[in-house]
């Protein structure tokens, strides 16, 4: 392991990373955000997902330093409260956790599906390939939102109301995962097609290795770097999609707002002066996505500038 680490530390990626301030800064910010979001039960002043903690009387309390703020209750309400009287800071932290879990989870689902399909299509070729790639085309021509609406409605019916709240996160993960796998499938297929031509694959076949083993052990590891690169973008996309779904009323349950739904909920207050309800979570989401995107751009620039989704 140390050897592998050493190799990694010596790699081109790490070298470029050390010289790139933007990448370092984004990674730093991202790490801070990640840690604070996953540590939210310990660091957040309140638990906003506990309905009993809602206090409507505190609704729309401005940030502590503003007139009308609640400096006496610090650390709660530092950044004010949302329309339901939840401490905004805590809600943002919890919301960011939900957003991140959805983003990462959805990407995992996408990646697994997309890689499996892309790998099969690319390696087996012929009919299988045509079929699978047509499927991806069809899927691409729907928008994610459309797919999400369909699947979301189906899930809700299938699981009933009682468990929906509990299952909302996994369901959204599935929805976004199912809606965006073609990006992966296409990318993986493209690199499988490139790898397949290389002679080490033929060498493996000459050894007599079975197809699945060649696919998984030889080709797959060599297609992972593009997967890694698009994954960053896809995480950001998945979080945006979740925000978009919330905007249309298909997102997380209101009692467990994600960053996206928090923004949407606050939007209506933007014109009325309670700007903090949307601007704080909005900025947090932008910063989060931006840092992921910047890291993704960095990886892409270093590893393979020609990787673009859908290629």
């Amino acid at each position: 392991m140390p050897a592998a680490w050493g190799r990694f530390a010596d790699s081109h990626l790490m070298y470029s990373f050390r010289r790139d301030t933007v990448a370092k800064a984004s990674l730093g910010i991202l790490l801070v955000l990640l840690v604070s979001s996953f540590a939210c039960p310990w660091i957040a002043p309140t638990n906003p997902y506990d309905p009993a903690s809602l206090d409507l009387m505190m609704a729309q309390t401005p940030p502590a330093w503003m007139e009308g703020g609640a400096p006496d209750q610090l650390p709660a309400f530092v950044l004010g409260a949302d329309d339901q009287g939840r401490d905004l800071l805590s809600t943002m932290l919890y919301g960011m956790r939900v957003s991140l879990v959805i983003g990462l989870g959805a990407v995992l689902v996408q990646a697994v599906l997309g890689i499996a399909i892309g790998l099969t299509a690319g390696y087996l070729g012929n009919r299988v390939e045509i079929l699978l790639m047509r499927l991806a085309d069809v899927q691409l021509s729907f928008s994610t939102l459309l797919v999400a609406i369909f699947i979301g409605a189906m899930f809700r019916t299938a699981f009933g109301v009682a468990s929906y709240e509990r299952l909302a996160v996994p369901i959204l993960i599935c929805i976004i995962g199912l809606a965006e796998w073609p990006q992966y499938a296409r990318t993986v297929r493209a690199s499988v097609l490139a790898e397949k031509k290389k002679e080490y694959v033929e060498a493996a076949r000459v050894v007599g290795l079975p197809t699945w083993r060649i696919m998984l052990r030889h080709i797959l590891p060599n297609t992972l770097s593009p997967v890694l690169v698009i994954s960053t973008v896809q995480v950001a996309n998945a979080m945006m999609t979740e925000a978009g779904l919330s905007f249309l009323g298909f997102g997380m349950p209101v009692t467990q707002p994600s960053l996206g739904s928090l923004i949407n909920a606050g939007f209506e207050y933007l014109l009325s002066g309670s700007w903090w309800i949307t601007i704080f979570p909005g900025s947090l989401l932008v910063v989060l996505i931006l840092s992921i995107n910047l890291l993704g751009d960095f990886c892409r620039d270093v590893m393979n500038p020609r990787l673009y989704k859908g290629m």
Partner: protein
Amino acid sequence: MSTALVSIRNVVKHFDISGGLLEQLRFSGGRPTLKRTVVHALNNVSLDVRQGETLAVVGESGCGKSTLARAVVCLHQPNSGEIRYRDQRIDHLPPAKLLPFRTRLQMIFQDPYASLNPRMPVQRILEEPLRFHHPNLNAAQVAERVAAVMEQVGVRASWAKQYPHEFSGGQRQRISIARALIVDPECIVADEPISALDVSIQAQILNLMMDLQESHNLTYLFISHDLNVVRRIATRVAVMYLGSLCELATARQLFETPRHPYTQALLSAIPTLGRGRRKRIRLTGELSTPINLPRGCVFHPRCPYAYEPCRLEVPSPLTQPDGAVVACHALRDGRI
């Protein structure tokens, strides 16, 4: 020929590159037709590789050398014809039945940069075939064997943890050879193993291959386009043109008295050191592609001796009195 290790009999290999049904759709004269685009990579090739020899296959780019090599190691299934290994037909065997032959027939590839999996350290690259074919070996035995083979090909055993990109082209080619050797094969198909290397390295690899042939009693099917190399290493030489066999003879016969017009042209074109060159045979006429094969003899559009039968009829390989096999109408009819 009882000594034949690998017999290639009337092998035909076509690649259909026309794609899906929809892509084949054409309109001719207003009616929809399905048109297939077929690459005729091998047309009726017959060869025997004899035990212990080095059979070289030469020819220009795209003439089907690699396809032949791949057909022999069952990477391609021929459209017709058969491949036999020690008189056992292997070309249509299912993968499981083929396994025993995989250890006897191995292959070395052209591109030293693409033929090693960049994500595996040398150790794993070499272990994998061994463990796969001999699952009952224990770790120590495997390690020992790997070390031994690395030694044989001249790669330091201490480099086993390195990844391929840390090696030079020549060293990678050695590792490639080691991977083929590790299952202890009888016959190695080498597809242009040295054409990507520098002259000084070429010599090293060629020498290594010759050494190994002696020590392991290997048989080589050696694919190359470099006639100078072939002249050095080959026992017998087969010359191919556009998927067809033109001439098959011992190296000496071939280089001293080339009989097929194409062989003659090829030999005259080899650059030699120094000004004094033999007279070049100028080939004229359009190059054909394996997609639109000319009728009759595939070489006739460029052949200086072409006459009527060449345009109509595919020449069949005829064994000459001295054992060489030549497929040429003009030669058969005594015109050359």
